[in-house]
Subunit: 233 residues, 2 copies
Amino acid sequence: LQGKAFSSLLNRTMKKTALIVAGGSGTRMGNQLPKQFIEISGKPLLMHTLSLFHAYDPQTDIVLVLPAIHLDFWHHQCRKYRFTLPHLITEGGATRFHSVKNGLDLIQSGDIVFIHDGVRPLVSHDTLGRCLDTASQKGNAIPAIPVSESVRWSEGETNYPVDRTRLVLIQTPQTFLLRVIKNAYQQEYLPEFTDDASVLEKTGEPIHLVEGNRENIKITWPEDLEVARLFLR
Amino acid sequence: LQGKAFSSLLNRTMKKTALIVAGGSGTRMGNQLPKQFIEISGKPLLMHTLSLFHAYDPQTDIVLVLPAIHLDFWHHQCRKYRFTLPHLITEGGATRFHSVKNGLDLIQSGDIVFIHDGVRPLVSHDTLGRCLDTASQKGNAIPAIPVSESVRWSEGETNYPVDRTRLVLIQTPQTFLLRVIKNAYQQEYLPEFTDDASVLEKTGEPIHLVEGNRENIKITWPEDLEVARLFLR
């Protein structure tokens, strides 16, 4: 075994944790039930998301961050759907930053952490492989896809064109060496921390983009649920 | 009838033309057949697109711009699928600008022109209504939707975050008063003319954004076809 094949084998032996953040309130869905709990193809969306990391590598530890008010409901759902995949659970915080920090505090050891949106059940094994390879070599890997449509900057009454060829849409799992991201989350919270890449970037680390997959949508709007149902089949 | 209701009635009586541009070569689809000709839900994609403008208002004239090499194939397809919706056809040019200009040259009279991608079969009647209302009052209307994902600017090895709340994704139909857009297309071609809004903007006119609809995707990648199939049902 040489080069890439050896590197891939090595990466498979790394200790991995998937940190799944499921904090949304679901207000954009026009639905009282937060979107991660909506049943789709036979089970709640969030169960699909947890299962995909297990399917990628059954040795992956799973940590789930949930709003405190949803803990009981989730336990009830796990019984109802006979969902037996082992996972640690912790409470979410006031912001995404605080939720991820709570999750990282639960991870005592390991090499790699995938920080992933609970409402992205469609990340591909290829994307996970690219995240793993680059994060293990360079410390971080952020999946991204090009923009297919024309883009404009819009501010009040004015708007102007933007060169879409320079823009990428960011997905998750944002993937890190565990020690690197734990260190980054020691910082004080800043409102500009909109995702994990922005937290790490503040420490001066360069961010490494890898190719995501187009199906890996964030379930945000009602029509996204229809699309997810299609691709989960 | 007063105000908005009166305005809507007035708009319905305006003479409208849909100018459908179907120039793509389909190389991104991994398919020899250009994507506008792929059969989906019983007929070629492009027939769905033409039909939706007829469904919105049967009085709408339809002008189709096709690459010269596809004219025979299209006529054959129309016979095969018994597609009898009346439409004028003209040849595409070297760029989208030249294709649209050819199409505009065919439109002798009217009030409003919808310039629409042949591979967007999912624009809603609500979006068409917003385009019509704003274009008739302000001269132009460009449908756009907010960006759901984090965005980065990526250039070579470096990349940095962009405030996605200021960005919008541009859709079609880009909608205009006929005399306004005919006048704009008298300009010499510039490579920066990536869409009709950019052509009009060069004359000094402000661009007016209206709300699009999320299903109104541009069929670009193979997985887009699956999504379109879902929403066309």
